[in-house]
C-alpha cells in the first residue's frame, strides 16, 4: 500500500516533494502525485508519513486502498 494525494485538494505548494525520503513525489499537471511503487509510507524512515505531516490541507495525503499495505523488508513494522 502507499499514500496518494487527492488532486482536488492539493494546493501545489511542493512541501511534500522535498520531505519525501523515497523521492516518490513529483509534480504532474499542476498538482503533486505519489509514485506508489516508491512509497514506503515512511516506514523505516520516520514515525509518521512526512507528506501527511507537512501538508497544509488536512486529509489530502491519504492511504491508497488500491494497493496492499507496505511491508518493510524482513517483515518488520
Amino acid at each position: 500500500m502507499a499514500y496518494k494525494i487527492i488532486a482536488s485538494q492539493c494546493t501545489s505548494c511542493s512541501a511534500c516533494e522535498a520531505e519525501c525520503p523515497n523521492v516518490a513525489i513529483s509534480e504532474k499537471n499542476g498538482t503533486f502525485v505519489i509514485n506508489p511503487k516508491k512509497c514506503t509510507e515512511c516506514i523505516g524512515h520516520f514515525d509518521i508519513p512526512q507528506c501527511v505531516a507537512v501538508c497544509p490541507v488536512d486529509n489530502t495525503c491519504v492511504i491508497d486502498n488500491s494497493f496492499p499495505r507496505y511491508q518493510a523488508p524482513g517483515g518488520a513494522a
Binding site: Q9, T11, S12, C13, S14, A15, E17, A18, E19, F46, D47, I48, Q50, A53, V54, P56, V57
Partner: protein, 518 residues
C-alpha cells in the same frame, strides 16, 4: 497624460523627461505616473547612522520616505511552508484574490530572474526584490538562494530581501549573509507560547508535526535566535506582527520590547485580515480585525520604543510596483518570456539621481513651513487629515479617483506626520458618483478633520461637510506636508478666534484585503 502633467513645479519635470526617454528608448509606452516622488517623513538622513541610511534610502518597505519614490517587486518562487497560521489558508488561490501570501503564478528561479530584469528595465525606480512566499522562503532554501544568485549576477544594483516566519532562519543566516541579502523581515506575532498556541495550530519540525504550546515555544525560540544572529552580522531586520484583537493585541507591546532589545530596525504592526470567504480559521470563527483607532493606538504605544512602519499596504506575494500600486498584470510569465530585455544600469541610475533631487526639494519645503509653525502659539491639539495623492508627495488626486487616502497627524510639536493609509473602493467611475461608495469613503476617513484633494465635486463636498470632514482643494498639486502644516496653522487660528470649535473625531474602518490596483 494625467493630471500630473499640470504640475507647475520644475522639480517634477526631469523625472518625466527621463521616463519619456526610457520609454522611447524601449519603443514602448509607459504609464504617465512615473514622476512619483516623496511625501516624506522624518525618516531622513538626520535620524540615522549614514551606513543604515545608505541601506534603507531606496527601500520602499524600510523607509516611509522612500516608499513614494521607489518600487519593489516580489517573486513567488517559494510555495512550501513549514508552519500553519490561523490567518492563512493555503487552499484558496485565484487571480481575483488579493490577500498577502496569495499569488497567481509560481515561478522557477530562472523565470523569476528574467521577470526581475524585465521589470527593472521597465520601471527604473524598482530597486528591491523580495521573496515573500506564498510559502516560506527558508522552507524552500534551494529555490530562494538560486533566485538570489541569478539576480545578483545580472542585476547587481538590486537590493535583495526576504520575509520569513523564522522557524528555519538560524540554519540559513550564513547563506543569507553570503548572498548579500541585507534586509530580512521576520513575522513575529508573540513571544509567549500560550499566546502563540492560539495563532499557530502546528509547525513542521524535525520531521514531525508539533502542535500547541510546544510548537509555539520552538517557533519563538527560533525567531529570537535568528533575529539575534542577523543583527550580529549587521543585516537589517524588520519585524512584522499581525494584530489580532483579544489574542495578541496587548501582548504586541511585549513583542516590541523583545525585538527592539535584539536589534530589530523597524516594527510593522499590521491589522489582521479576516473574512469568512477567505476560509481561514480566523475568518471562519469570526475573529475580527482591529479598527483604525485600535491599530494606531497600539502603533503609538510602541513608537517610543522603536521605529514603527505605518505605510505597509499588506501587498500580495507577487506584487510589482510602488507600494500602493500593483503592476503585476503587466509581467505575467507569458509576457516576460516574450520580452526582449536589455538591462540598462545607466538610465536606472539617471532616474534615481533625479528622484534624489526631488526628495531634497520636498524636505526643504516641509522644513521651511515647519519653521513658521514653530513661531505660532503652541497647542496640544492634534488632528488627523486625509490626503488624496497618487505620489510625488503632492495633493494630486481627485477625490473621486482615489483608491486610498494617506493619513497625516498634525500637531505643533511634530508638524505633519504620516501615520497610515486607508484604502477605499473607487468612489467615482466614469465621472459619476455612487452613494454607497461615498459612505465607504467616509467610514474609512471618519477619524479625519479634513480631506485634501486636487479636485472634488459639489455633491461629495456637501456630504463630507455634513459628516464633519472639511474638504480642502485650495492646495491642489502642492506638496502634502507643507500644505498640511499651513492648514494646521490656519486651523489653530480659527479655533483660537472662536470661528470654529475643535471636535474630536470618531473611529474609522480598515478595509479588508491586500491592496490591489482597482
Amino acid at each position: 497624460m494625467d493630471d500630473s502633467s499640470s504640475f507647475d513645479v520644475v522639480a517634477a519635470e526631469p523625472l518625466d523627461d527621463i521616463m519619456q526617454k526610457i520609454a522611447e528608448h524601449k519603443g514602448c509606452g509607459t504609464s504617465s505616473d512615473g514622476g512619483k516622488a516623496s511625501c516624506g517623513s522624518s525618516d531622513g538622513p538626520d535620524d540615522m547612522a549614514p551606513e543604515i541610511w545608505e541601506k534603507v534610502k531606496n527601500h520602499p518597505c524600510y523607509s516611509e520616505e522612500a516608499h513614494h519614490h521607489y518600487a519593489r517587486m516580489h517573486v513567488a518562487v517559494a510555495p512550501a511552508c513549514n508552519i500553519q497560521c490561523n490567518y492563512c489558508n493555503r487552499k484558496y488561490d485565484c487571480a481575483n484574490e488579493s490577500r498577502p501570501g496569495v499569488v497567481s503564478e509560481k515561478l522557477t528561479p530562472e523565470q523569476a530572474s528574467k521577470k526581475v530584469l524585465a521589470v527593472a528595465s521597465t520601471i527604473p525606480q524598482m530597486t528591491v526584490l523580495g521573496i515573500a512566499g506564498p510559502g516560506d522562503p527558508l522552507a524552500n532554501p534551494a529555490k530562494t538562494f538560486k533566485t538570489f544568485e541569478l539576480i545578483s549576477q545580472t542585476a547587481p544594483d538590486i537590493k535583495l530581501c526576504l520575509s520569513t516566519n523564522g522557524l528555519a532562519l538560524p540554519d540559513h543566516v550564513d547563506t543569507i549573509a553570503k548572498y548579500n541579502v541585507d534586509h530580512v523581515t521576520i513575522t513575529i506575532n508573540m513571544v509567549d507560547p500560550e499566546v502563540g498556541a492560539q495563532i499557530y495550530p502546528w509547525i513542521f519540525w524535525n520531521h514531525k508535526r508539533v502542535e500547541g504550546i510546544e510548537a509555539a515555544r520552538i517557533l519563538t525560540e527560533r525567531q529570537m535566535k535568528g533575529l539575534e544572529m542577523l543583527t550580529e552580522r549587521g543585516i537589517l531586520c524588520k519585524v512584522n506582527s499581525v494584530m489580532i484583537p483579544g489574542i495578541n493585541d496587548k501582548h504586541l507591546v511585549e513583542v516590541n520590547k523583545a525585538v527592539k532589545s535584539r536589534g530589530a530596525f523597524l516594527h510593522n504592526i499590521m491589522p489582521l485580515i479576516s473574512a469568512p470567504e477567505h476560509g481561514t480559521v480566523f475568518g471562519l470563527n469570526g475573529q475580527r480585525g482591529p479598527s483604525a483607532q485600535e491599530l494606531k493606538a497600539l502603533q503609538d504605544a510602541c513608537e517610543g520604543e522603536m521605529n514603527m512602519m505605518r505605510h505597509c499596504r499588506q501587498c500580495r506575494a507577487d506584487a510589482v510596483g510602488l507600494l500602493g500600486e500593483d503592476r503585476s498584470a503587466e509581467f505575467t510569465t507569458d509576457k516576460i518570456m516574450e520580452m526582449e530585455v536589455s538591462y540598462d544600469l545607466e538610465s536606472r541610475q539617471a532616474y534615481q539621481n533625479a528622484v534624489e533631487q526631488e526628495r531634497l526639494a520636498k524636505v526643504a519645503a516641509k522644513k521651511a513651513e515647519m519653521e513658521t509653525l514653530a513661531q505660532e502659539d503652541a497647542s496640544d491639539l492634534k488632528i488627523l487629515v486625509a490626503v488624496a495623492t497618487k505620489g510625488s508627495g503632492r495633493i494630486n488626486e481627485h477625490f473621486g479617483h482615489a483608491n486610498e487616502f494617506q493619513v497625516y497627524e498634525l500637531s505643533s510639536s511634530e508638524g505633519a506626520k504620516f501615520v497610515g493609509h486607508r484604502r477605499v473602493d473607487l468612489y467615482c467611475q466614469g465621472g459619476y458618483g455612487e452613494e454607497d461608495a461615498l459612505e465607504t469613503v467616509i467610514r474609512a476617513i471618519n477619524d479625519c478633520t479634513a480631506v485634501f484633494v486636487a479636485k472634488i465635486g459639489h455633491c461629495p463636498k456637501d456630504t463630507l461637510s455634513a459628516a464633519g470632514i472639511e474638504p480642502i482643494d485650495q492646495y491642489a498639486y502642492e506638496f502634502i506636508e507643507q500644505s498640511a502644516i499651513a492648514y494646521f496653522k490656519d486651523y489653530l487660528a480659527r479655533v483660537k478666534s472662536g470661528e470654529i470649535v475643535h471636535v474630536a473625531r470618531g473611529d474609522a474602518d480598515i478595509r479588508q484585503g491586500a491592496f490591489i490596483e482597482a
